[in-house]
Symmetry: D2
Subunit: 354 residues, 4 copies
């Protein structure tokens, strides 16, 4: 049974018949239950997306409730076991914890390579860096564009780390595909459905951040957009939601991690940097995310943040990142997870021994 | 003075000197005020976008406050009088109230023409209809695309009404430009900066809806994106924000209308349909919007909403729209505004006699 | 049918039996519907408050949905027609619109009498003034207490106006009962259940403001507390909710007015002053409230607000209040309502001629 | 300098003089800074609570900004070191982590003693149990009252554990004082200022939960109410805020923990049970709270939650609580904290060896 139509206590017999007929017309099988005060019509079978909206407008209908979630490919019902991705030998999801780190924006070759080396040495698995930056102001630095992509690719190859970078525009999908290993779809573009369809047509992993006002269901629907195009390599990320609590830039919704894990097989990361907005809060929030069971964290690190062109106040210094990685490893162990470690050369050494 | 740097009470003299030096380095003029417990450094002059972020990271700094708003072209300081647009003879903004109406999505020629005629007869000035529909689910009806645009153009010409339709993708800007009179940028795309830049390069008016988690300042920054490209024909629209109050789909923030009007010269509309989610709430919310001083409303009307493919539950029936237009006209009068009326043929008759 | 228990698709037959047994044990009648994938158990009859919580914990249960609202006496199902109160000859609710006005806090005899005379002359029906003020800071002015109550009573008698004042503490109910005509329960005390029970035991009307994070259902549950004690003279008030939108002090949720009116027979007012926080926004928000169909508004007026000890920035000046009352009367007419007017002496002249 | 008055760019010289005069009249020392476009007036000295409100209403004033926080006794500036409480030999605050556990409501002697023994054996330091329960519905179980208090006292003495219970009404302060060791002020009463004043006059510790829509500043102001009466034994608790994210009952704002710790010396706990609303989420959220640095957690445990009269779905089973305590101890260690342990008899054994 997919939909439950609750009739008003004042509904007439004709109202019920009309609902029953429309349920049949929509290709579903009606099932009537008469209570003392109200009648309920269950609708069994595959529902069309507009079925619920249409039924709730019929005379005598009080409300129409959907029992099942609107996503399928993203759900645990469709795919029970945790999805584990393999990106250049690094395993993501399940018991594996991976830290993505690097500068917010790619500003210069020097900073990118310095920070990249520092985060790799500390134990980060994946290198981040923005070439296209969505900025609230048209007058702010909006990234180095293709030149930034080239630097990122070069740094990733030099360090032997997979790379992730944001794509904001369907027209940039091809370029980002050529230069980076993972597409990041930012919070502002979680609802950019055409962009999701474009990255869904590629074979590269997609890392989708939750919109600042998006429900967990909506985030999973955005994943569904990518999955529905045949690209099954999707990761999700909680990065803070907008609430009345203005003491932090956003409110990191750590509860979303276990909630999503209960519903979906996809790996879920946490972004403490954008939620906090201040570097002092980044380490404790990262640890909270690992303790709650996240598949990893994406952390902004900068060697000279008070000269950064973007989001400097939330960047962690390399020396503090070293200490943070240490605590991440210990907490991951306690909750039954394992942090990916670098082995000889640039090969990740699997601590799970598989 | 653009920025005020508040030092901590524990800040040392060196800390103050460092701030003063950085203010100068950033091209601004420092101005020190010593209080009993704290020192304050004012920074006078044009600030770079990252100045605030960089200063707040310096040692001994407690906080950095910006006095001025981050938008310019959208502000009343830049353009004191209300902007009044002229779209095919219809004046928008200032004392003029215009109602935009039509079906949510363009589903068929018949519905579009029927509803179009009905809303024009009732007094709507502009015809709406979606050809590209952003939908949370990849399995929902997502609009007729270019075929829908053709129908909209035909209907607009037939009725002599200007038309508005949503553009979601920078790659569709050219097509929408060819077929419609006004670009609508939806709430989900308010932060789609590349899209804003593209419509900003055209000479057609742009109607920007507030994102469901966007502040008034962020909405004005999105307008600034369009204005900064040379397109000064921008309208704004409050359409409900996401809050804990789940009894309505969104919470219509009527206060945003006078708040925006105090800060900006751009016309501000209200969208009661998407906020309410239920047709019974649409008339009272429309009247609230007109009473609070909006430049108009965008209302979804459908002749057969329980067959609609999109958002049927919030569509007003044509007969109820007639009554609503009557009340809109009366309330507009009371708050010193005037509703655009159709004269002979399809020429708008200016009730203000200008 | 009061509850619908949706079983998981993986639920075993034993799980269903266990639910059926517990439903019976809870004094309700079970009704099983088998779908293709899931079984649903309806529970018919009077439910105990903890029934839903207990059922949702049983093995194999996916979710338990309640069909009916948790309030009874406050609902339209219990009492279909609008409740119309009579307070010293003033009718409240139904088509009657009443404006409550006065200073935020009672600060001095002079200000109270001056403002009282001004708002009565302009057409306000009821005089407001706070003797006990809930303040965020223990160091702020917290009201004149009993001396303020005495002044309010004196002013009400002098002007021939009913009075309303806030009660914050069950221990003050008796004193406020002696001096004022209406108990106001403020937003911070909407969940002060012992206070609600105390005022529910009296025979004086109670005006309950919605908490800043309260749902409409929770507001109606607070009304239920008063109604359940036998006091049926309850009025409700929307005063703004806390959201991320920091441009106003609170976000006035005008949609709540028609939503509550659909569910409850109790009169619903609007408080534009506390929502706005700034006097310029008070007139447009008041008009929005009247246009949306509120039973009235409670407006803070002060003759010298920049000397006020409390909430001066949101107080309207008497001269602006005169103009506002004029517009209120006109808009009330358009939406089929009538503003109470003063007749000879201090008797309200009923514009509806009843 | 306590206040900064920013004049409008259009402000006249007279406007500035008026502000300067009012600043002096309010007992503060004015300090003028002239910028290129605007003048700024600093106000140095002790400010009265209404000073900011009054100044912002003067002609030509754009905004008035306060530099300092409105609380004093709760601030780190007033008391730099962490406050460490001693409650019957148990140390709270600083590096000490304490777990408070027990049933939501006291329902029967058996359940209370069983659960109490179980949580003590697992390592909880303090026993919780509600005798007065605030309930949204007047028809729900509202606690056993004084009989519940007696059971709690008996259980605490039997187990050698300090006890905590909620007080909702100033009239109950005396009774709760006699029977329990810690006053709990619940989220709904965080703004019940008269209650805060009453518990502030006692010498027993007060545990204040953050209101569901309260800012961190407002929570600290509520603490200030207690502190201002001379009771310095205050603990705070983050228990989830109300946001649009309806997947959990409330959104646990873990960031609030380090934010409060930065501003205040008072210990801050976390309540995962009420935030989650579902028992499966309680262990991960507890661990997140400990990882982020909380002074402890308050966890609901029930031996037979599907028979509980209150909040059963969020109660952890005793066997799962044992495992949780183990993880709490390990994570506390990693972040430099120590969980209180029971030694011989009922004496807490200090793991820090002090």
């Amino acid at each position: 049974m997919d939909l439950i139509v609750v009739m008003k206590s004042s509904a007439a017999g004709d109202d019920v018949h009309r609902v029953v007929d429309r349920v049949s017309e929509l290709g579903m099988k009606p099932h009537i239950s008469k209570g003392e005060y109200r009648t309920i019509v269950g609708a069994i079978g595959e529902k069309t997306p507009q079925a619920q909206e249409q039924l709730e407008q019929l005379p005598g209908v009080d409300q129409v409730m959907s029992i099942s979630e609107p996503y399928r490919l993203a759900s645990r019902e469709f795919h029970e076991a945790d999805t584990i991705l393999d990106i250049k030998g690094i395993r993501i999801g399940g018991p594996h914890v991976n830290i993505i780190a690097g500068p917010c924006a790619i500003e210069s070759r020097d900073v990118l390579f310095d920070v990249g080396q520092a985060v790799k040495d500390a134990g980060a698995a994946i290198l981040r860096g923005g070439a296209y930056k969505p900025r609230s102001s048209p007058y702010s630095f909006s990234g180095m564009g293709r030149e930034g992509l080239e630097l990122l690719k070069e740094a990733g190859e030099h360090l032997g780390m997979p790379t992730i970078t944001e794509v904001m525009d369907p027209r940039d999908v091809e370029a980002v595909y050529d230069y980076a290993d993972i597409f990041q779809v930012g919070a502002r573009n979680m609802h950019n459905f055409n962009l999701l369809l474009e990255v869904g047509k590629t074979d590269k992993p997609v890392f989708i951040k939750r919109g600042i006002a998006a429900s967990v269901t909506e985030l999973l629907m955005s994943a569904e957009y990518v999955l529905s195009q045949g690209n099954h390599r999707v990761m999700l990320c909680e990065r803070g939601i907008r609430t009345f609590a203005e003491e932090t830039r956003y409110t990191l919704d750590v509860s979303a991690i276990p909630v999503i894990q209960g519903r979906s097989h996809l790996p879920v990361f946490i972004d403490p940097s954008h939620a906090a907005g201040k570097r002092d809060l980044v380490p404790p929030l990262t640890l909270a995310g690992i303790a709650v069971g996240a598949a990893g964290a994406i952390v902004e690190v900068h060697s000279c943040p008070d000269r950064a062109l973007c989001d400097g106040p939330q960047a962690v210094l390399p020396k503090n990142f070293v200490r943070l990685m240490e605590q991440i490893r210990q907490i991951a162990d306690i909750v039954g997870h394992r942090v990916t470690q670098w082995g000889e050369g640039s090969h990740p050494a699997d601590p799970l021994g598989k």
